[in-house]
């Protein structure tokens, strides 16, 4: 299936969940995160779509003004087509449904997105940090991240200005 066919297949079933693409972003489908768990089940169970592989899950911070974003890259080994799904997440209350129990691949990816951006994937069975220590403060890849002063008595370095 081509991208247009995939998009129309999703729109036919969930017409109110498919959002308009921003300008210049033509090759991804923007969805409403409230109905994401239903759509995710549809993507994997529908015979014509059958996206049985989650290739990648990326968290993004598009700048302090705008929201956070999660991008999913799906691939169907059966039909050999792929699609990119994007969900926007509120910065103040970053929660979206987890797809960990649908694609097991999402387990560590979602934990990484949680570790770096603080996006809580509701329904994930082990929503803990994966790279940073468990008691680390803040979300390192957010644009407004500020490093904590000390960690267990060790001074955490700040950005050093004027060093060459």
């Amino acid at each position: 299936m081509t991208f247009e066919e995939i998009k129309s297949a999703i729109t036919a079933k969930f017409s109110d969940a498919v959002l308009e693409n921003p300008e210049g972003e033509e090759n991804a489908i923007y969805l409403d995160s409230r109905s994401w768990s239903k759509i995710a089940l549809f993507l994997v169970s529908d015979k014509d779509l059958f996206f049985n592989q989650l290739e990648c899950l990326t968290g993004m911070d598009l700048g302090s003004e705008t929201s956070l974003e999660v991008r999913y890259n799906f691939h169907s080994m059966e039909h050999r087509h792929k699609v990119e799904i994007r969900l926007t997440v509120d910065r103040k209350d970053p929660k979206i449904p987890s797809v960990e129990q649908i694609w097991r691949m999402a387990d560590w990816f979602e934990r990484e997105a949680y570790d770096m951006y603080g996006i809580v994937f509701e329904g994930h069975r082990d929503m803990t940090r994966i790279l940073c220590p468990d008691d680390w403060e803040g979300w390192p890849l957010r644009k407004d991240y500020e490093v904590q002063d000390t960690y267990h008595g060790i001074v955490v370095p700040k950005i050093k200005e004027g060093w060459e």
Partner: protein
């Protein structure tokens, strides 16, 4: 040494014993296998047949309790720094630390923007020898180990240090 350390006045017997101890310590500094990043590959190459650290009496040990020298080979993240400290505390005296490569020495390429990297392992454990390089070749590491051997040999473990 504990009980005997720095307890004796300087005389010919103590000096000879000191030299013997220094010789014994310096010629068999077993090192703690402690690979954290790409420097570990060079450390392994130094221990393998071509460079053969066994020539200078060094055997890799997997337990901190059996090791005399800790070679910190690679990037020390802050998460790891707490463990590095714990492992150093588990080593028996006398113990030495070699900081291998620019990451362990100063943070290396993560100096400016790495929130997660410790800017030098000497912030958590005392370092005896720094080996520069990114990563240092096995020859450079061996040079550093020979420098450490010189340092150990020059120590006077029994002699009282006069203030």
């Amino acid at each position: 040494m504990g009980v005997l350390e720095n307890k004796f006045k300087d005389n010919i017997v103590v000096e000879s014993l000191d030299k013997l101890l220094g010789w014994a310590r310096s010629t068999s500094p077993w090192f703690f296998q402690f690979g954290l990043a790409c420097c570990a590959i060079e450390m392994m190459a130094s221990a393998a047949s071509r460079h053969d650290l066994m020539r200078i009496g060094m055997i890799p040990r997997s337990s901190p309790r059996q090791a005399d020298v800790m070679i910190v080979a690679g990037t020390v993240t802050i998460k790891m720094a707490t463990r590095v400290k714990k492992l150093y505390e588990q080593m028996a005296d006398p113990k030495y630390v070699i900081s291998m490569g620019s990451c362990a020495t100063s943070g290396g390429p993560y100096w400016q923007h790495g929130y997660h990297v410790l800017k030098g392992v000497d912030l958590v454990v005392p370092v005896d020898v720094y080996v520069p390089g990114c990563p240092p070749r096995p020859e450079a590491l061996i040079e550093g180990l020979l420098k450490l051997q010189e340092k150990i040999q020059a120590e006077r473990p029994l002699t009282q240090i006069s203030a």
